[in-house]
Amino acid sequence: MRSLLGLLRKEVQHIRRDPRTLAVVLMLPVVQVVLFGFAIRTDVDHVRLAIVDPAPDETTLAMRSRFTSAGVFEVKAVLQRLEDLEPLFQSGDIQEGVVFERDFAAKLRDGDAQMLIVTDGTEPNTASLLQAYAQSVVFAYQRESAGVGRSSPGGLAITAQVRTRFNPTRESSNLFVPGLMAFVLTIISSLMTAISLTREKETGTLEALLVSPLRPWSIIVGKVFPYLVIGFISAIAVIVEARLIFHVPMRGSLLLLLADALLFILASLSLGILVSARTSSQRVAMMGAALATMLPNILLSGFIFPVESMPLALRLLSNLIPGRWFVEIARGIMLKGVGLEYVWPQSVVLVVMSLVLLTAAARSFNARLE
């Protein structure tokens, strides 16, 4: 018994004397709860809506103003033709579209008016909500105007058909897998370089390597390049898995996706080097790399929790995470089938991030031991 107590006492002493670990362990749950609490919001505001109204009349105008004043919608465009809706979905400018048919008011008086509600199916969690919002506006209008025009008791005069773009069957794998790809690739990439660098420090070979004509940048390139190749192979494997096992569509250009994946991996590899610049222990580097990539990617990349639902501060923060941009690219290319003309802004962001991180990594790598 005494030996057990002795061991317990020793552990307490270790804990008390390692204030840094203690701070992390106590602070981390607090920080996480706050972050998670704010980030996890499944209700949506500011739904970006487009309205297609080929022949506006008093009913459609009345309903349109309902949508505008509902509070949850932001009417981004009012269109004349149905065909104009698709590009807005592809570019991500709108999340939902509401389509009225011609002669809506007349058809309503006759007892049967048709509407179409289209939602962007690439947003996990939100597609059904978007539908529900739109539908509730329609029902509310119906109830209030039940006295106007002929209505069958208990019958709906407006039929709203519901379509989901890009993911009609709403396979959850389609929603998650592209984001999951980003998540997985960033973790392993940063881990690889973090481990490689600290392994050299641990075996002592880094010290021997420093006393040579090798400049820091060539050591960095030597460390990053092979893992770039491995990461690339990984990315291909992940895409193959997504296609074969989960049947996630690949509607856009595979080459473009791979090119962007390469950029994304490069950014993550550089991050791994940055994280391990100050540590010489493989274990600490692994934890640091995992922490620097896992948490931000789960919470803020939009892969599980939509970025739009987050408070402004977190939305701004999410812009700094390479994963967030790659998730948009992956979803766009795989599910929406868009090309470079749509994803070029996100791609440029990835290029800039890779360059910045790589330069920072090279700078952080000292030509000396101190």
Binding site: R2, S3, L5, G6, L7, R9, K10, Q13, H14, R17, D18
Partner: protein, 250 residues
């Protein structure tokens, strides 16, 4: 208790097809300071692991403090003290706290711990440093403290694995005086070391070469037997039989 602290007969250990320890036979008498020497890879570490109950032999027999190494390894662990080069004490605990911890592990009463702690700390002359973390102590004090802690529970036998590595020459000798004191008190001491002059401090030594014992006896006897003037030369003669031990010296 018998006169013989350690008794090994044809002790063997193989790892697959590789024989690390090849039928070694030797004994260590109670109260002796025994130097267990050999080149790296000669089988020393494996042999010691078998004698301290950490590894089961593949063949042969051995008794440590009267306990059989095959069947009573737990009893052996309780009876012996061990000081390893790689690890001695917990760095962020103070000497006092380390003593208290090990005292508890070896089931000493609080009274015993307190008494021996004071005894030990004043013998080492540590003063105020006894309250600071071990990490802050100079290497020499750490080594002496580690030895004292290994002896805390008054083991019959203590194993010291390269206890003086890297330490300054005066502290090394002070350490060896502690070893002598301990041995005179009846504790058997088995030491391994790479300092060949320390081999001379031992009552008897054995030198392992390629898994077997190449020499066993008092330093004086062996020097006479092999016609060399130092244990260092003896080592060379055993490990590289055809070479001239004097060739290297300037």
């Amino acid at each position: 208790m018998t006169d013989v602290a350690i008794d090994a007969h044809d002790l063997t250990r193989t790892f697959g097809s590789f024989t690390a320890v090849d039928r070694i036979t030797f004994d260590v008498r109670a109260g002796e300071v025994f130097g267990f020497l050999g080149a790296n890879g000669a089988g020393k570490t494996t042999a010691i692991r078998m004698l301290t109950g950490l590894l089961t032999p593949s063949g042969g027999a051995a008794k440590v403090a009267g306990h059989d190494v095959y069947t009573e390894s737990e009893a052996i662990k309780r009876t012996i003290g061990y000081m390893s080069q790689r690890f001695s004490l917990y760095e962020d605990l103070s000497p006092r706290e380390n003593i208290r911890l090990y005292g508890g592990i070896y089931d000493l009463t609080l009274k015993q711990i307190r008494e021996r702690s004071e005894q030990m700390l004043s013998r080492l002359g540590m003063g105020a440093a006894a309250g600071r973390p071990v990490r802050e102590l100079p290497l020499g004090w750490r080594q002496k403290l580690a030895l004292s802690v290994a002896l805390l529970h008054r083991p019959a036998i203590v194993f010291l694995d390269e206890p003086t590595s890297g330490v300054d020459p005066v502290t090394r000798r002070q350490f060896w005086e502690l070893i002598y004191e301990t041995a005179r008190g009846g504790t058997t001491v088995l030491v391994t070391t790479h300092y060949m002059d320390e081999a001379e401090y031992c009552d008897r030594i054995s030198i392992m070469v390629a898994g077997r014992i190449g020499a066993l006896g008092t330093p004086a006897e062996l020097k006479q037997q092999f016609v060399v003037s130092s244990i260092d030369d003896l080592f060379v003669r055993l490990a590289r039989p055809g070479s001239d031990p004097d060739a290297g010296a300037k």
